[in-house]
Symmetry: C2
Subunit: 423 residues, 2 copies
């Protein structure tokens, strides 16, 4: 049994509730403190602890007071997109490991502040990007590191999720998404798809994002949906809605690879993260649930009407690679999944707890957070300037060229550690 890590939570909104569904089932941690500006969510949270038969945590309405608890080792910060980075920096200044939720930045400056907080305190921040620990993304990372895809050239990802019901009604969807989509226009939610791709492409460890262009379609899906609701007798105010229905962003990397991202949360369609990882030897394409590896997957030679031969190539189902190439973390932890997003939340949480317990750098660190979240404000800038290319700052100040992959344990998303089964 590992030593339970003592943690606190700042922000007791809907996302905290989902996190607690994992926290309160995990022996690896104790939630000793919770904080919210308001009494009502604190009361609700204490009720959840009671239902799980867990001892009540200390409660705070000012997180600066909570950070004075000496025994506190790490803090989860499921607050709003506009507040979690500044709170994380304060946690780091207090010597507490910080765990933030996903999202994008509003300015490059708030990311520099986070980087400076880390460099001043050497206390890490991690983004709980659960998609990095999805089975297929982990397996593709493993296959890429084993060389099966050859030299990487091109990736795609997306967040295509029909959230129209929430967006049209301007309800709080748990991350104030509706408000950001109403007032902004850009790649507002890049990390679910970009996180795994950035790790696969060794961003900040021998590679980096150089520049991007971003393009937005018109915004007509939410107004159309509101008109439908109104016609059904559910009138909604026809307030402006800025976010384009589909945002396409192309990121150029120092290694010569491009990444295309698609953001779309207002259109009716099945969910997809649009995963694609492609190299000189193979390709994974999430939407076809397929992988093609040259020399391993099926090819056929056919004859055209003029008598000339041509080749056809066929997808293998992703599942056919699981037995041989599942990532070691998936094998060790697939029966321990608890909580939200099919239990994937618990993998990102365990990775964070491991880093806190061992005072290590987490697998998604401050430079990853800064690079991934910068996509959002840079995308807004590019769109505002007619899709002009805009440059990424180098948040590592040149260290990316020779930065070693960290941490060296089984949670690493940089290297695949077959023998690292410590916890």
């Amino acid at each position: 049994m590992v030593r339970p890590v003592k943690v606190g939570i700042v922000g007791l909104g809907p996302r905290a509730e989902v996190l607690l569904a994992a926290f309160l089932r995990m022996d690896e941690m104790e939630v000793i403190a919770v904080c919210d500006l308001h009494e009502e969510p604190i009361r609700k949270t204490l009720g959840i602890f009671e239902r799980y038969g867990k001892p009540a945590p200390k409660t705070f309405t000012n997180y600066h007071e909570m950070l004075k608890l000496e025994e506190l080792e790490g803090v989860f910060i499921p607050t709003s997109w506009n507040s979690h980075l500044a709170i994380a920096a304060d946690c780091m200044e207090a010597g507490k490991y910080a765990a933030i939720e996903v999202g994008g930045a509003s300015s490059i400056e708030e990311l520099w502040q986070l980087v400076h907080a880390y460099e001043r305190t050497k206390t890490p921040v991690m983004m709980l990007e659960n998609a990095c620990y999805c089975r297929d993304e982990l397996m593709v990372l493993n296959m890429v590191r084993k060389g099966l895809f050859g030299e990487l050239v091109y990736c795609e990802g997306g967040y295509e999720h029909n959230l129209r019901n929430n967006l049209a009604r301007m309800e709080n969807t748990g991350e104030e998404r509706a408000y950001h989509n109403r007032f902004r226009n850009g790649e507002l939610y890049p990390t679910h798809e970009l996180g795994p791709l950035a790790k696969i492409l060794r961003i900040n460890r021998g590679n980096r994002f150089l520049s991007l262009t971003s393009s937005a379609t018109k915004s007509v899906s939410i107004p159309a949906y509101r008109r439908e609701l109104t016609a059904k007798g559910e009138p909604y105010p026809d307030v402006p809605f800025n976010q384009g229905d589909v945002i396409t962003t192309i990121i150029k990397c120092a290694g010569g690879e491009n990444i295309t991202l698609t953001h779309s949360v207002s259109m009716p369609r099945p969910y997809s993260r649009n995963g694609r990882v492609q190299g000189t030897k193979g390709i994974w394409l999430e939407d076809v649930k397929g992988i093609y590896i040259e020399g391993m997957s099926r090819d056929e030679t056919l004859i055209d009407p003029a008598g000339n031969p041509y080749d056809r190539h066929f997808w293998d189902p992703v599942e056919s690679f699981y037995e041989k190439y599942d990532h070691p973390v998936w094998k060790t932890d697939k029966d321990k999944l608890v909580g939200g997003h099919g239990g994937l939340d618990s993998l990102a949480i365990r990775a964070f707890l491991h880093a806190v317990r061992n005072r290590e750098n987490p697998p998604i660190d401050v430079y990853d957070v800064a690079a991934w979240m910068a996509v959002t404000c840079l995308s807004e800038q590019s769109i505002a300037m007619g899709s002009m290319p805009v440059a990424f700052p180098d948040f590592t100040n040149g260290k990316w060229i020779r930065r070693e992959p960290t941490p060296r344990n089984r949670w690493s998303l940089d290297e695949v550690c077959e023998e690292c089964f410590e916890d």
Copy 2:
């Protein structure tokens, strides 16, 4: 029986051979003249006519001589990417309908020359873009015009075709593709995917392409493949190869829609044209062979770990829409397909012959040709300038705003004419 149209062919290379596999099986036409600069392909072509038991055509080595044949009504021009536009303009000046093959332009100026040739002579040119007559593309056009997709917002297309064998060996693949890919870097082959999308989006008839950005990955797949061949004892010269392995181009339309195109001909993978057509009510996605239409396709409501409901949406197989929504042309002609590309060539050819026979504007006309082919040189410019946005000229000089869809017959790709069964 319709009156056979009298046609000639300029350029007797590999593409002409594939075209002849359709021509010589079609009663709607007579090939009365063929032309090539060289005697050898003329001899080979005469042999093909003999094998089909067809009367030998007149032969020419100078197409200007061929164009003097008064009975000649239309000319097919399967010549190189660098020559077919100028030859088409000469055909139009001689009063002969011109049919060009697919490809992209090297300059905006060569497209203006084509447009001016049409406006001076009123003799049309058509691009034989067979992909516009593919079953699924035709059906999606039909469904869009019936309103099933709502207001269109976003489209994607691609030409992802593993042609590495030809490209690495610098062989002539029938359209000097290898040479263009060696020296250029851009969206060199846009029309297979863009043609159907442009028609669905009413480009040049109430809509137009406004601008694009284009991004190229590094070019490493061909050099890697050449090293493999060399290692196997088939040495190939390591000459420079400019074309990026994956080119991504985003076109903005006047109607507020975006189109993302992917060009990739050097990477090992299954073939795809990446089709996607998306509106406020539905989406077609080629790679999943699926369509989702709101209110028609399956939805389910599930509960997350915090007890909140969320929706899942499911694809319907494309085939499930065939019976009800197949395009009228597919129904009338699906049993008459002959020749290349699964017989699709013959649909584009019949559309051209219909226009010639009736002295009508063809369904893909000079303004379509100019807009579609302009993507290639504009993409090169954008890539050369670090993915800067570049503007499309308006080849219609403003006429696109109120241009009527033409022709009004069953071959139209602008409107779907249920009752137009004339031939």
